[in-house]
């Protein structure tokens, strides 16, 4: 799980162009949206693409994203349970 979380942080930084941030800056349970990292709705869509591309999970409804993307912790949990790509 730790390896997955680290991997996620690296991927999030890359995919969302978070230039001045390192994985060490992102806390596992820190809010990704809202005040946390300040991500917006397009970032949420990019994370949905990330789930599909790297982990083979297809989300049909963007509203599901709200729960899943609360933090790196919740994302990792969801991926571990639903991934179809290793």
């Amino acid at each position: 799980m730790e390896a997955l979380k680290q991997e996620l942080k690296e991927r999030i930084i890359e995919v969302l162009n978070l230039e001045d941030i390192t994985p060490a800056d992102i806390q596992d349970t820190e809010a990704l949206f809202g005040d946390g990292l300040g991500l917006d709705s397009i970032d949420a869509l990019e994370l949905i693409v990330l789930l599909d591309k790297e982990y083979g999970i297809k989300l049909a409804d963007p509203k599901q994203g709200k729960e899943i993307f609360q933090s790196v912790e919740t994302m990792a949990q969801f991926i571990a349970e639903n991934r179809t790509k290793l």
């Binding site: 709705s41 397009i42 963007p62």
Partner: protein, 401 residues
Amino acid sequence: MRSRVAITGMGIISAIGSTVEENFDALVSKRPGISFLENFSSRHASEIKVGEIKRTNEELQQLLGLPAENTFTRTSMLGAYAAAQAVKAAGIKDLNDVRAGLISSTSVGGMDFTEKHYRQYLNHPEFQKYIESHHAGDSSNKIAHYLGLKGFVSTISTACSSAANAIMLGAGMIEQGYLDRVVVGGTDALSKFTVNGFKTLMILSDADNMPFDQERKGLNLGEAAAYLVLESDEVVKRKKREVLAYVAGYGNANDAYHQTASSENGEGAYLAMKEAFEKAGIEPHEIGYVNAHGTATPNNDLSEGRALLRIFDKVPAFSSTKAFTGHTLAAAAAVEAVYSVLALQRGIVFPNLNFRRPMEEFNLIPQTEPVSKELKYVLSNSFGFGGNCSTLIFSKTGTHE
């Protein structure tokens, strides 16, 4: 004294008809043009519905009488078809007998053809001719050439508010005496580029779009072309034109919120409408019908609804006609300008189809049946990505400054 801006001709081709009358007929008979994609293949074909014009490119070429060797793409064919219709309807014999111009809009440009052929360029040089047709300016030039226009040509590309901005600019140029006559409007064809792009933003609906409904889940993309002929008082008098309506007011403002989403309280929309009222010199209560942008996305309808409630003490009869045509992007504002003028002329408010439940955030109920109503002023909204918000106000008789 500043000239009024008279609308003396209109032309349109959309999913609900190839002429102004056909479109009118569909609107009052509640016959939408939303269906499944047929003209080109797409992996999303079964997952989305569109406002497709059921005419192939070959048919369009024939309709336009184009030579076999040409570089018209679907966008420019639709545009040429509608623009020529408008010029004819205005009774113009010689487009260049006064200072004339064309202001066209598009977001797809020639992409609908280049995306089809670019993989074949190396092995099939006969398709390379379309490379030059790719850019947005080419469709305008093609249309101008087809019309035989020798004057001013310009292309506006501001997403879904493009055609409103073209109408605004044309009106301004007539008012300020830069042009005596200008053909204004927009054209966009369906393409994989836009279908795939909008799909990834997750704002497309797999069902018929439901503007202002609580259960709305997104927009249906559409294709269309529509143009208006605007002429000055002097030309109208000299040529003894029948005036269909006047462009009485217009406004454009930026929402300054997000690249593609609209702000919570519809600030850009509110400011655009406010400016249009100031320009027209009228009060909101004088508007008899609002043709809303109403794309049926969760975001737009909420934002626009709020803006309407902010500017109107009592929101007048309103509807979104996108349930008929789909969202035709750069052509949308021109399509809806044609519908606004028809509403004014014939005293009819067009229906907002597929509406069942009002949105829970407020109490806004659109007009669901076509209804006769004496109208003096009609307002039309078009909001584009990039926060570009535009509003047009049409009147039966011209208003003077």
